[in-house]
């Protein structure tokens, strides 16, 4: 029995993933209003960025992601920020997001329900979904220059669509 479980665990740990479909999650934004994914998603692509105020690579990435978001029509390519900060940091999330230049909606995944649903275990993680709500791209971490890679991926999916 032990070997059976270990085998399943090892088998699952070496497989890759793509194609998961996102459900219509509902989370509170920084203004206390609960919004749904379907209300915020873009007509062609949706970029979902998971971060926290205490995460250094997230601090590096946020101004770059915010800059990237400003180059697209928000109706077509929508950006959503998901803060996974716990209540001990919640008071900082709104001013922090505004300081980072984030103009797109920031939702609070305080219980990390969405993070677990998408099997995300590290931050920052950026997820791109298409019009059919399928996950088409996942990027973990952030290093200098990753915003160029992300732009290429977004443009690639937009070109595919057209």
């Amino acid at each position: 029995m032990r070997c059976y479980y270990l085998f399943i665990g090892f088998f699952l740990s070496i497989l890759s993933v793509k194609g998961q479909t996102i459900y219509d999650f509902r989370l509170e934004n920084t203004e206390g209003k609960t919004v749904s994914y379907f209300e915020l998603k873009g007509k062609e692509l949706t970029v979902i960025d998971f971060w926290a105020t205490w995460c250094k690579p997230c601090v590096n990435s946020l101004p770059k992601i915010a800059g990237l978001a400003s180059t697209y029509d928000p109706e077509s390519v929508s950006f959503i920020g998901i803060s996974i900060d716990s209540p001990r940091n919640l008071s900082k999330v709104r001013p922090f997001a505004e300081t980072m230049g984030i103009m797109y909606p920031v939702l609070l995944d305080t219980e990390q329900q969405l993070m677990q649903e998408l099997n995300i275990t590290v931050i920052p993680t950026l997820v791109i979904t298409n019009a059919e709500n399928e996950v088409v791209f996942i990027h973990e971490g952030f290093a200098a220059g990753d915003e160029v890679l992300l732009k290429k991926e977004i443009d690639h999916f937009l070109d595919e669509k057209n």
Binding site: M1, R2, Y5, L6, I8, G9, F10, L12, S13, L15, S16, V17, K18, G19, Q20, T21, Y23, R26, E28, E31, G32, K33, T34, T53, W54, C55, K56, V59, N60, P63, K64, S86, P87, R88, N89, L90, S91, K92, R94, P95, F96, E98, T99, M100, G101, T110, E111, Q112, Q113, M115, Q116, E117, N119, I120, T121, V122
Partner: protein
Amino acid sequence: MLVYTLQAQSQISGNNLMEYQFGNIPDVDPSDLSTLYDQLNIQYRYKIFKSSFRIEQFFSIDSVKRDYINLSQFLFQYQYKKLELQVGNFYETLGRGLLYRSFEIPASIKEEKFYRTRQGFYRDLQGVSFKYTGDVFKFKAIRGKPLNNTYPPGNDLQRTEQIEAVQPEIHFLNQGLGLMGMRYVEQGSTTWYSGIFMEGPLPWNFNYYAEYARDMSENPNIFEFSEENRYALYMSLNHSWGNYGASFELKKYQNFIIGSGISDPPTLIKEHTYRLLNRSTHIPQLYNESGFQFEIYYRFNDGKLLTANASRGANTFIDVFHFSEFFLEFY
């Protein structure tokens, strides 16, 4: 991570965490221990239905029986528009955690020094929850047994407490007002708690949050704050303008330990990044603690961030003990 589509509208996904460790704890017998921990999470989603489970396994190579294979979590979730129903193991918070907070640190493993066992780092609630999240009115009701994670999985002492709580909220003209009521039961003894919180924007780009919770069983006078009373107060005020942002928080926790520690009031200590040895440098002493935290930061146009943080806490027992932290970073 595996995703396997069974049919056009449902899916199975999951992840597995496995860690082998060989290490020692000096002055403990056996000092060297070889262990293997595995955590398997599987979830199934079909439209508005979701079910999931977690199996944890632990094996050690020594003569003491520490091994376990445990179905640690299961969940059935139904979510339709603004309604959500959960049965099983889940995570919920009341307000900002003064009364109750359950949480998980994902992909983390906790080791108990006493039992020399390893397990996932989470404190969940096993029971049922119902939520309605409307535009103006929200409601949350939970009932269940919180996990005491100082015991290993499968131990009978993991879930000896029970809570029942409701939290109605109303949002009007951008202001939010919420009430909390909680009944805590442990070994036949019942304690009632209540709380209130308010939040919203203020002029000139300020935002505030305030929460007050109290043990109503001993003294229901909500305006009495003497040392014998049991209450918790938390307030925050934040502001941003262009590239600058700031937050200021205050806390006062008086005799406010609930059970095995099922609450998690804000610590008001900076949660550090990976560059420091300790992510959290202070554990709040809920018997008696007051203090503040102030943080201000400025983002330069090249993306660099300058952060200054000052926090101070005072614990009054026989003497007054102070904890202070000053932090300055340019990154």
